[in-house]
Symmetry: C2
């Protein structure tokens, strides 16, 4: 297990990752120096970043953030990156729109303010650019020369693009049956793309093997050996949502669950905003969203279990199709602690939600966004989400990458000859 | 011709479109009140907006802009929109990244700063969101209830999305042979999409007929009867580029040509920045880019003609496939007046440029972006573009919408079983 728990012989002493002070075990709390490891040497628990966060002057910190770049790097004082990160070649993702969704709210019977955090505006059109940007800095700090990942699609594109901008080699691993848009997007940046005959969970297991093999030397797997750094990127969603609400916590958040990492890190981000005094503490509730065809966390929530039993995914929401979600137990804990819930929707409900969001707000989301909005709609109908509170639904991706989900019945209303008579005959006016 | 030249009986007296003062003929200079017309009653020349621009306090104006929203609405004092535009339901496009493209520059032998203005970050991932946002305000001002357009694809999606957000009906017209991504994106917002058996020029002619017919009453065609307002949106590209360069003019701009409107309005925007004192006057050169398979302006430029002879388009760059470009003569004039040029590239060169941009900067552009970068590369090789100056290449769209252009040879490097042996056999390490 030494590959999991011990730093390379690379010069990690010189590592400058800003306020990141150490790695800390989420289970037993043991601390380790910053290095490319992801599991605790004592208890094999997952590691996360511990910080020396700025304190004592929240007003000054807020001004510094507001004067920063229009990207996640405005939050550099709260991230595991060097202070000069914005000047390095990277995709500068983030600071995507928080859209006030009044027409959607009216249709859902929501009376409180409803927002969609629209991450389709990121450089490769998914929230993955946020996490990859952190992993890239860690890869540079640890001297890795190849950027890699296991991916359900969005991540492969984000890694390929980030590596291209940074001038690093990339090699990404995907299941062999992905949507064409995601495959082309993974490959177009010129890196290596390896399709694996198997599910995402097979791809993930393979990458864990590769990382322990000499073949994987010098490789930074953004979501394996760089995972503690990578995962912190999701906090920036929490930071932006609160800043865009005028430095306030929302009352309710609805977040998709793949590995569960995004949801747990959004919660971590909210807690760090409270700890630094950037927002005032108040209760908030976190809701997790899955597709029925891959709903191990939702099933565990309903059954009152603390553990998550792996499933074999079968859903159109391929970017969420992780049958064995690493952060599942933490998600259950957060949903229960905050008074939230975890729920799931069918593929039909996913497609219906995609169209609802497009029709009411002009936002074309991918299947994952359909899952999240579909679950929000379901929880509202059940009375689990309070329609009178400030609610944020997180849209993590872009409909152009999952055209197949809607293409079958989304085409021209009519095909005509270029004449008024032909138009009249079509009866559209 | 009354439909072309006379305002409706709608209450145009109450029209508040900010600093827009009147419509003015680009040929004879005659002025008309703000209304949904697009051709001069005296000489049938195209109309454009005349402004009462802010003057006398450029520093104050600059501060006001910099404190504005992170969208095109920061430039509301220079656009035909009401002052409270940002509070109305629209897609808030713009303020997209100006990417310093150092790796691309190195590969092209450019020594001066090279930038890509990356408009794929707009809400529907093309620059069209900028122009539609202006037309939407005009439609609201003139009381239109249906938003419409003729489109080569990107515009249809932008109109559908903007109408959905604003709660207007939409009906858009497209050629029947568009890329699937663009068709789905046009239709997913729930408006009507009419496919026309013919080329874009046929679609355009049909829309002009429809607008003169009772069938088209109450319809705002963003690029026909609302064209003078619509076209102004392209100025925001000029505004953003200069602000992002620290309120300076670039030396050279390379811009794609479809109708030619974008290029002429970027030039107009630069001149307005000079007129208001927001930037210091200095020479700049404007270069236009076309695909060889639809290069009427480039052919006229090379031949030294002042008029543009229409062509029948045949190129993979469908979003630029306008065989009879309305603003062609103005483009020729601007390229010659500023010391620029107009050139074209083959479909092969387009694909090669798409891949070059993806590989060096992690930006996946559509075919139109391949045209623009391809022409920039060609003009550099010829010595027509000066490699030592500040150059901006405008990327107007997103590669996900034209997957077919690269899909044939952009896929997995290898397909393997999820084992180290299978990976080793693939010989990729």
């Amino acid at each position: 297990m030494s590959v999991l728990t011990t730093a390379d012989s690379s010069p990690t002493a010189a590592v400058d990752l800003g306020p990141a002070a150490a790695l800390s075990c989420r289970e037993c709390g043991e601390r380790f120096p910053l290095s490319p490891i992801f599991a605790c040497a004592s208890c094999f628990g997952p590691l996360e970043i511990a910080y020396d966060l700025p304190s004592g002057d929240p007003e000054g910190l807020r001004r510094r953030i507001e004067a920063g770049p229009k990207s996640i790097w405005r939050y550099a004082p709260l991230l595991p990156v060097p202070a000069d990160v914005a000047s390095k070649p990277n995709l500068n993702p983030g600071f995507t729109p928080l859209v006030k969704a009044d027409r959607l709210a009216a249709e859902l019977g929501v009376t409180g303010p409803l927002y969609v955090k629209d991450d389709s505006g990121n450089p490769t059109h998914s929230f993955k650019d946020r996490v990859v940007a952190q992993a890239l800095e860690a890869a540079r700090a640890f001297g890795f020369t190849t950027l890699s990942c296991s991916s359900t699609g969005n991540l492969a594109g984000a890694v390929g693009a980030a590596a291209a901008r940074a001038g690093l080699r990339s090699c990404v691993f995907i299941p062999h049956d992905l949507e064409q848009g995601k495959v082309v997007m993974a490959a177009v940046y010129g890196g290596q793309v390896v399709a694996i005959e198997g599910s995402y969970d097979d791809v993930n297991r393979f990458c864990s093997e590769l990382i322990g093999d000499p073949l994987g030397e010098g490789w930074g797997f953004v979501n394996v050996n760089l995972r503690p750094y990578y995962a912190e990127g999701s906090k920036t969603l929490a930071f932006e949502i609160c800043e865009q609400l005028g430095w306030q916590l929302p009352d309710q958040l609805v977040i998709p669950i793949a590995s569960g990492s995004q949801l747990t890190k959004i919660d971590k981000g909210l807690k760090e905003l409270i700890a630094t005094g950037l927002v005032e503490e108040k209760p908030y509730r976190i809701f997790g969203a899955q597709a029925e065809g891959c709903s191990p966390v939702s099933q565990a929530f309903r059954a009152g279990h603390d553990v998550v039993r792996p499933v074999k995914p079968n859903t159109i929401a391929k970017s969420l199709a992780i049958g064995n979600p690493a952060d599942g137990p933490y998600v259950l804990d957060i949903a229960r602690r905050t008074g939230g819930a975890v729920a799931d929707v069918t593929d039909e409900e996913i497609v219906s939600a995609i169209k609802l969001l497009a029709r009411t707000e002009g936002i074309f989301t991918e299947t994952a966004g359909g899952v999240t909005l579909g679950v929000a709609r379901k929880l509202l109908a059940e009375g689990t989400l309070d329609p009178s509170l400030t609610t944020v639904v997180v849209n993590t991706g872009d409909g152009l990458k999952t055209l197949d989900a809607v293409a079958a019945d989304t085409g021209p209303t009519a095909t005509i000859r270029p004449t008024l008579d032909s138009f009249r005959e079509a009866g559209l006016e």
